[in-house]
Amino acid sequence: MAPTALSCKECGEEYPLDAKYFCEACFGPLEVAYESEGADASELKRKIQAGSAGIWRYADFLPFTGRPRDPLEPGLTPLVRAHRLAERLGLGELWVKNDAANPTHSFKDRVVAVAVAKALELGFDTVACASTGNLANAVAAHAAAAGLDSYVFVPANLEEQKLLATGVYGTNLVGVHGNYDDVNRLCTELCEERPWAFVNVNLRPYYAEGSKTLAYETVEQLGWTLPDRVVCPIASGSLFTKIARGFDEWRELGLVEGDLPIFNGAQANGCSPVATAYAEGWDVCKPQRPDTIAKSLAIGNPADGPYALELARRTGGGVDSVSDEEIRAGIRLLAETTGIFTETAGGVTIATLAKLAERGEISPGERVVAYITGEGLKTLDAVREGHHMYEIEPKIESLDAALAAATSA
């Protein structure tokens, strides 16, 4: 596929492939349009399999004409068969896509790698972003690797781990007094004033394309087949909808056969504009003021909300939300059954999966993929409670006594 234009998702108006993100005619979001060059599926497949061990093996399906410059290639993260978790939830075939296994430990490396490569191609010397934390880590790291200056804007009250894991790369870290939606508004205004590539503002059409690679990898890792259902967190709804777009593109090109999977979205109760709109039957989201431990999903004004709602409804899925307590339990459940330690967003996904299983919405024959988008070490506060440490003297008797006391207690 070759990128041809930026096309408005609302009215279809087309624009050249520049740093542009919304339609001048109707304010709708722009998306990269491609033309299919009539390559046959087996040739495309051979090319992918001969490619690099990361997302650039899918460069033919991304908004570039050659292999992009990128010294920090993300992708090809493990897709793990989660037998013990499936058993615990009473499910059949369950897979966990562990996207914490990326260079900066979240799926944001995918979108940022694409955006930074595009920024270099378009001649920018500074990249920037509005972030809830994971994106900040990724932008700072990929900018450092590419030798670009960077400005990273985050809510000042972010988890300390995410601030430290951003600052270390030598970026200009800016903590804003306000929530993510305030940061985002500021960056949208700054985008007018500064000659910077804001990965999730003026480069958003390219950046969002990076999420499609999660769909491609899933298909490849499942032996060129599709799952029946996916469970995926929703913040702005971009990841959720781009995974579907990735599956659809490969279905159209004949790289994989079958129906689009059922899409279940996962949000936290404390920031659930999409789940609320789903439950109320609205086709747009009413903005909310976030209050949840799942800070990486704390977007009260989700840009792709309408499209996420449409996708959940069209595929027979849904959008659920879960409490902070359920999020903590979800993190522990995943850790105890798979050995994967996820951040709060992953807790939201697993708690939603558990809820669907409990409601009997997932039939035993279904092949389900749950997307784990980030690393537990970034949100340690969420697991501060919930375990016990034995404290002993360095003697066997001391251990025996401590274990005996615990059993008798």
């Binding site: 919304f22 001048e24 304010f27 960056c187 949208t188 007018e192 004004n301």
Partner: protein, 91 residues
């Protein structure tokens, strides 16, 4: 009320290059109407059937009007009304 309406750069061709338009209006809706009356072509880009298009965000002094009274949100003298695309940000 005399207020300032800030126009995103992509729409400035419709305002003759102006990034800020000074108008009178008691509510956000009235202020926007005053801008639309001065500048042809803005109304249909920003509104549809009398309501804001779904990818348009409007802020009064930094606060999203959907947390207030929408287009009925009352304005004070010197308020700044900012029009921004809603498609930025997030994942």
């Amino acid at each position: 009320m005399a207020v300032t309406v800030k126009i995103p750069s992509q729409l400035r061709p419709a305002t003759g290059g102006e990034g800020e338009v000074e108008v009178e209006g008691g509510t956000v809706g009235e202020a926007l109407d005053a801008v639309f009356d001065q500048h042809d072509g803005l109304r249909e880009r920003i509104t549809e059937d009398g309501t804001l298009r779904r990818f348009v965000n409007v802020y009064v002094s930094g606060e999203d009007i959907r947390f207030q009274e929408g287009l009925e949100t009352e304005l004070s003298d010197g308020d700044e009304v900012t029009i921004l695309p809603a498609v930025a940000g997030g994942l």
